[in-house]
């Protein structure tokens, strides 16, 4: 199972991770086109926290025993059997925000583009390397293998 390791000692707070997360969600690598022509950009699925000298990006930890899975009343939140990533089936999600309440990292976002649904980092499993990891200029985010 993969997890994105957050190394705050190397985060420079540039937020390139956020920018590229948005692009990855849109599904293109052409940032200029995305930011110019896509009318409603999704929120990044990670948060850059900052306070004085400390900065770091934080996204789903892909917990072994995830609270969000336990709290989900619809079955929309599920573990991808192939990659082990926790994913949201936005079609099934009804927007009850139980996962938002339960996630101890606070990295599940509420979205509402016509339909309420939770949104979270799914490790870019359809993309390959997570966009944030790939574009972090200082390797503050690295993809690691955990567990068995």
């Amino acid at each position: 199972m993969k997890r994105i390791l957050v190394r705050e000692e190397y985060c420079i707070g540039c937020k390139l991770c956020e920018i590229n997360c948005v692009a990855a969600q849109v599904g293109s690598s052409n940032l200029i086109k995305i930011y110019r022509y896509v009318p409603e950009l999704p929120e990044p699925n990670l948060i850059v926290e900052e306070d004085e000298y400390t900065t770091f990006a934080i996204q789903c930890r892909n917990c072994d025993d995830p609270m969000c899975l336990k709290a989900c009343i619809t079955g929309a939140m599920h573990r991808d059997s192939f990659t082990g990533a926790i994913r949201v089936d936005k079609e099934r999600c009804v927007g009850c925000w139980m996962c938002v309440m339960a996630c101890p990292i606070g990295v599940i976002k509420r979205t509402n583009d016509g339909k309420k649904a939770a949104s979270k980092c799914e490790l870019c499993v359809d993309r390959g390397t997570p966009a944030c990891v790939e574009n972090c200029p200082n390797e503050a985010l690295v993809l690691i293998e955990v567990g068995e």
Partner: protein, 507 residues
Amino acid sequence: MAKTRTPPEFILERDDYKCIRCLVCVRVCSYGANFYDEKENRVYTENSKCVGCHFCEAVCPTEAITVKRNKFDIKPSAHWTSEELFDVIKQAETGGILLTSMGNDKPQFNYFDRLVLNASQVTNPSIDPLREPMEIRTYLGKKDAYLEIFEENESQVILKTEVSQQLKLEIPVMFSAMSYGSISLNAIKSLARAAETMGTFFNTGEGGLHKDLKRFGKNMIVQCASGRFGVDIDYLNSGAAVEIKIGQGAKPGIGGHLPGEKVTEAISETRMIPVGTDAISPAPHHDIYSIEDLRQLIFAIKEATRYKKPVGVKIAAVHNVAAIASGIVRAGADFVTIDGIRGGTGATPKITRDHVGIPIEFAIAVVDQRLREEGIRHMASVVVAGGIRKSADVVKAIALGADAVYIGTTALVSLGCHLCQRCYLGKCNWGIATQDPKLVKRLNPEIGARRASNLLKAWTLEIKEILGGMGINAIESLRGNREVLRGVGLNERELQILGIKAAGEAW
């Protein structure tokens, strides 16, 4: 006269079409040159704040930024360059010494590029480094002119001489003395790890030893300079060798000064001085006013390290360098480090940097020749520094007679430095010449170590390629082998001092 507005040195061009207002450039600039106007939804740059470090250019995700030099189109004059003009203006305004950083940037001091190397053709075969062993291991330290060997019989050959302690370098390139204080801990860690990986050495500089660096002792040379910061018995014994610093190429004849505001808690601990006090390295060592004083210090350190560590002496290359080096060798140094006029630094008066000392090429040639003439070349290794930018420079320096080279600026460039020469401001955007924790962490030592190692790996390959091309497979056959060098565009006297022939001359 009214205050002069100094025109910006750099102009940051932002392609507004490509700019996606991600504000990365705004967030990263430690000089605050980039800013965002929310009302206009536009990112602007205050060019006068830009130092030309190119960090924002490097992180801009859409290549919207180009940092260009402002040409300062004053009326053309061969005598008055814009640099000269603005130096005068600056001094007229401030009344102070012009400060700068890194090495001499003037063209006339470079001789490496006027030397060319030889290669085998027909009469002796070149050697393919991919197929045959190609050896560049180097030992630094005092050698013996005669080894006593007892040959009992065919299989019993015994070395009787007890050879002096040596530094074993898998590549004859080391990282120059750069102190914790002048550069960040992450920068030093990067070099330390790279030195460990590549089997070479880094140098603590005059900054004492941060506790995180202790584990790199096997690959560390500890420096003892005029301020004696952080020097105690443990420090002297924590590395593989000790280097006494008398001078450095970027500022021969003057000392160093780390302002109190940079003496943070961690730096105060490693330098062993109170937080916030200025760290002043005097121009001379106040216990060394003569060569015999130096000898005493060399042997005091040898005593302190029980004769287990080679002790070197670093000097700036000045006019009388050959005689001084000879004196240092005779004073008992195991290696002599010579730093040429192009050597870098964190802060130096511009006048010193640009006008004092001699190019390292000449220094190598005269020191090596002098020591050989005196029959004492084996008594100490010669390490040279100041302007080594590439493996070709390493090869040429060694062919001129150096045992190994130090790289400082080049090492920092491998870590990201773009030579903006503003180290003395302590705001280095690349996390190198700064102690600001927010900036320091921009240099991830894992990446830094990888990059510095890669540089040395690349050089290793290149040096081997060049050796193979010359038909030799061990670096000792290159060392001092000036036959492989020829000069281009040098006058008779320069050729003679360098001990080389002109291009076109045969053996």
